[in-house]
Amino acid sequence: MLNPGDKAPDFIGRDHTGKTVKLADFKGKTVVLWFFPKADTPG
């Protein structure tokens, strides 16, 4: 787990359109991230 005040781990990945997304792209902005277990499944 991470704690408030920790440096957010840098990341680079691809989104569902194939576009590269980096945490650094959002410098100076607030970022909300959430993980889900499997696309298009409830629960």
Binding site: M1, L2, N3, P4, G5, D6, K7, A8, P9, F11, G13, R14, D15, H16, T17, G18, K19, V21, L23, F26, K27, G28, K29, T30, V31, V32, L33, W34, F35, F36, P37, K38, A39, D40
Partner: protein, 77 residues
């Protein structure tokens, strides 16, 4: 964000007209860094994170409701 492929998340995003990117962490690197890869045999844990303007963790939750939490938290920012 999930461990699904771009094709799986593309279908999901188009079905529900999501207006945000679904990051496809297929090798679980990001999930591991953010504490969402609790069980490598399963999908990601429902971790929710807010990162502040300085790149620091503002909130980290082990389990959030993917339907309600994002809108709730955006409303507090």
């Amino acid at each position: 964000m999930s461990f699904d492929t771009p094709a799986e998340n593309k279908a999901f995003a188009e079905k529900f007209h999501f207006n945000f990117p679904l990051i496809c962490d297929t090798d679980r690197t990001i999930g591991t860094a953010y504490g969402a890869n609790a069980d490598p045999q399963k999908g990601a844990a429902r971790v929710g994170v807010v990162i502040d303007r300085d790149g620091k963790i503002k909130e980290w939750h082990a389990r959030v409701d993917a339907r309600a939490w994002p809108a709730e938290v955006v409303g507090t920012l």
